[in-house]
Amino acid sequence: MKILIVDDAMAARMMLKNCIPAEDNHEIEEASDGSQGLEKFKSFKPDLTFLDLTMPVMDGFETLEKIKQLDPAAIVVVLTADIQKKSIEKVEALGAYTVLKKLPTAEVIQKTINEVREKTGK
């Protein structure tokens, strides 16, 4: 499966990658802001995107909106420290597949990946 990680924090990207089982051989790409994330989304065409909200250049809200405009069926999991109720409602309205709070556990990430695999058949 192709997985795109969009987060401005290198530490966050590393921690998330560490939660993804290496033996599953997923193809993983990264982006460090929303604008880069959007470009990578277009070129890499991921099956699953993990997206942070609080990012410079283009935040996660705008990135999610633009991704969904490009591909309404895109599966985007928002992984964020911004756990305000209104933020969660906003991204759900924008079409996020689900919202996970930082720090996620490996179990939660693996469960999410498995759900997406079942959904997409990848």
Partner: protein, 217 residues
């Protein structure tokens, strides 16, 4: 990332980890406040800077315009790390905060009572944001800290009151800064955590232990 350590206390990775931890801490803080006063708070990516104490005022003045007139909620914390949290708002923010708690009796209050009330509200907002943020940071780092009561100071007293009295020329400080704004009001602010350089050793150890734990999953 734009984190920086000119004093050589934290490595690049440690700075990155601390930045993400601050991100999580302030995310929690914003959620707590948003629940109390039913607003949406727009957040930004935090910035970690380690500098010599002698450069702190110049640094803060660069990061925050019109510091002299700002209202600042100051709250020291002690324990495995020692520092002071400063929640900085432009002048006038306290009136905006009070409007969130508006009731029919407020307009009839005398001005000196109103000023006290504005200060109280500012302190309470500070207490919520600072407490939740620092609490979460040190929870993630398995550290125990305690807080001293918050108080409100004006920006021009920041230099005299805190900086001149608290640091020697040899000290380094670790600053963690995040900015935020309230969606339906013209209110924005900054949270600065200033840790004495001696906390750097404790922080380094805690950050590395945190990292090892995360990578052990």
């Amino acid at each position: 990332m734009n984190n920086e350590d000119t004093a050589g206390i934290l490595s690049e990775l440690e700075l990155e980890i601390l930045q993400e931890i601050m991100n999580i801490g302030f995310g929690r803080a914003a959620a707590d406040l948003a629940e109390v006063i039913d607003i949406f708070i727009s957040l930004s990516a935090p910035k970690i800077t380690v500098i010599e104490a002698v450069n702190l005022i110049r640094y803060v003045n660069t990061e925050i315009s019109e510091l002299q007139t700002c209202s600042i909620v100051e709250q020291p914390y002690l324990g495995e790390a020692k520092g002071v949290a400063f929640l900085i708002f432009p002048h006038g923010a306290e009136k905006e905060f009070l409007s969130y708690f508006q009731d029919k009796d407020i307009d009839s209050l005398e001005s000196d009572i109103l000023i006290d009330l504005e200060k109280e509200v500012l302190m309470e907002v500070g207490n919520i944001l600072i407490g939740a943020c620092i609490g979460k940071i040190f929870e993630l780092l398995d550290g125990l800290i305690t807080f001293q009561p918050p108080r409100v100071i004006i920006g021009e007293k920041f230099t005299d009151h805190y900086i001149k009295g608290s640091f020697s020329e040899d000290d380094s400080v670790i600053t963690m800064k995040t900015s935020f704004s309230f969606e339906d009001r013209d209110v924005h602010g900054y949270l600065f955590l200033v840790n004495r350089g001696e906390s750097g050793v404790t922080l380094k150890k805690a950050l590395n232990e945190f990292w090892e734990k995360q990578n052990a999953t």
